[in-house]
Symmetry: C2
Subunit: 347 residues, 2 copies
């Protein structure tokens, strides 16, 4: 890398068009701030008080089935509702509001209360990928759904309120802000180059080999050049597909492998259950031709210095610009050096 | 308000052009997630180990003066450096980076280690406003500085690593992302209406009286129609000024009063030292005519349900769209009902 990249500099995020500030020298400062609690490492396989465990009842009294793989249901406290009355409000173009309709689902990844994605076997992870694909199809069959956000909050410090391994799907009637940004970037590049932005980007990264973590038959996992979270990564399908429906059985298997290896490497960095928010970005549905879109998945993990010290995206970051304290290349190096065997298995 | 606003809906943020999702019914869900530690309430007036207290030494060995009001110095661990070598990197328009230069300063608000802004007297707060104005002038005298971000992170849960009351100023050679967004919104409105966007907005809010918290001679504090943090507020000067240099003595006094009253109301909500990130947005400097800009200050406080349960802006919010669980009108009501005497004084 060029030497000026060891000094404070900005990088452009290709997917949003926005820049981030990199301050490589800054990780040297001592930390006297907040230290997080470590996640408990002794959960039972079954917890009678967990609303996600098989056979238990949920907030509304419904009883979970005695499921063996993964299990999906409508969130008992959905942020979006399918039946909201239509409405719009506009006062002088200054106060503007509009009804938003949607469906929020919860996916339990496994009946086992004590596991996490990196500790599940490949078959179980593949079952989750299958369910994501199935749910995406079901939701996109509703004409009024325009965008489907599949994601996971892992760890209490990421606002996850139940340690039972699970993810969420929020499907809604309009395009969220982050999707509008990416849509513009994908479409500008496609118009100019008749090629997927992420295909072009991954080609360069595969030549450089500076930020690649995983490179298998169908997927690449890398620390993007413009990562803003310390160990942020991006998973991209080598084939240019617009959404998860296009994945073959073989690709879904490879996606499972990629997620397993990536999350194991994460857990091994600080020998802790590595918290993150992760989720797929895919083409809007029921919105006409979207060929410029390229399926990908973001991992946004907050830890910076240790299992208990995270990066705070606060003051300057909220008011001005995202800022990071280690380079993406350093983070990629750390991730590459990790074993692909989970630290818990080695005990 | 219209009844559809009790249902999930989106609102447009006038200052960024982006929307937020409001899910008013959602605050009903029980919280089983992370609970924060309460801030300690028994700090000494002077702490021999604090690098901000008068007379103590800092990381680089410098000794603080025996200051009586407020005190400013260059951050010993600055994210931006004035002397970074120039550089630019562009690989196929896909990997793009550029040197960023800047100056990061720390402002100790008072010699008293045990206070916070809402506990300081008016004269001491006015001295901080004076210093902000002074520093803004000094920094803007450097031709290469284009933007000056004045801000404060308050509380350990906002990444603040020292409880001694202090703020920061980051001045830099280009415009941060959030400023570019606001610049576009201000300038579009000004071109179309020959009027400040925020003057027009405040006029409507003063008629409605649904979201106003404070309305004094020179300033208004309100919960913006598009607030995304639970108790987010916006402080706006009634006079259309582009930056802090334009404020008269009387206005600075009034700003001090506004900040004092607003932060006292915050502390009283949950009878705790209310954490937040707050900062001013002002016109870029050394960048030609910026008459469309209107000085304002954002408060982004994370607490949602109690002194120890915050709103997590995670999965859906990071990947898709900011989302809130109570309406801005509800938050304004709560803030309006608070006493303007600090709960600590009433003991
Ligand atoms: O400069 P401090 O107080 O050490 O650090 C704090 O504020 C900075 C500016 O908002 C952030 O970049 C840091 O993540 C945060 O911990
Ligand atoms: O839905 P949960 O897991 O209760 O809640 C969590 O994820 C949501 C979606 O990212 C966020 O809105 C909440 O703030 C967070 O606590």
């Amino acid at each position: 890398m060029l030497s000026f990249l060891d000094q404070p500099h900005t990088r452009v995020n290709l997917l949003t068009g926005e820049k981030i500030l990199v301050s490589p020298h800054r990780s040297k400062r001592p930390w006297q701030g907040q230290v997080e609690d470590l996640p408990a490492d002794n959960r039972p396989q079954y917890d009678p008080k967990c609303y996600l465990c098989p056979g238990n009842s949920r907030a509304d009294g419904t009883q979970n089935p005695d499921y063996k793989e993964s299990f999906v249901f409508v969130n008992d406290f959905s942020a979006l509702l399918a039946e909201s009355p239509d409405g719009a409000y506009n006062e002088g173009d200054l106060l503007r509001a509009e009804t938003e309709r949607g469906i929020c689902k919860v996916i339990s990844f496994t009946p086992r209360h004590d596991l996490t994605l990196p500790e599940m076997d490949l078959a179980a992870i593949k079952a989750v990928v299958d369910l994501w694909q199935y749910e995406f199809r079901e939701l996109s069959n509703k004409e009024w759904i325009k965008y489907i956000q599949i994601f996971e909050n892992k760890g209490a410090i990421m606002g996850c309120s139940n340690p039972h391994p699970h993810g969420q799907i929020w499907a809604q009637s309009s395009l969220p802000v982050e999707i509008e940004k990416e849509a513009l970037q994908f479409s500008n590049y496609y118009k100019a180059n008749a090629k997927s932005l992420l295909s072009a980007y991954v080609e360069i990264e595969l030549v450089k080999q500076e930020r690649i973590i995983i490179d298998n038959t169908h997927f690449v996992a890398l620390v993007p050049f413009w990562a803003s979270w310390p160990y942020e990564t991006l998973v991209v399908s080598k084939r240019h597909v617009t959404n998860i429906l296009d994945f073959t059985e073989e690709e879904k298997e490879d996606l499972g492998k990629t997620l397993q290896e990536l999350t194991i490497r994460y857990d091994n960095i600080f020998q802790t259950s590595f918290p993150y928010s992760a989720g797929m970005h895919q083409a809007p549905v029921n919105s006409g031709d979207q060929q410029e879109w390229h399926w990908h998945m973001h991992f946004y993990p907050p830890l910076l210095r240790s299992a208990s010290v995270k990066k705070f995206m606060v003051g300057y970051e909220m008011l001005a610009n995202p800022q990071r304290d280690i380079t993406p290349e350093f983070a990629a190096d750390v991730l590459r050096k990790q074993s692909t065997t989970h630290y818990n298995k080695k005990k």
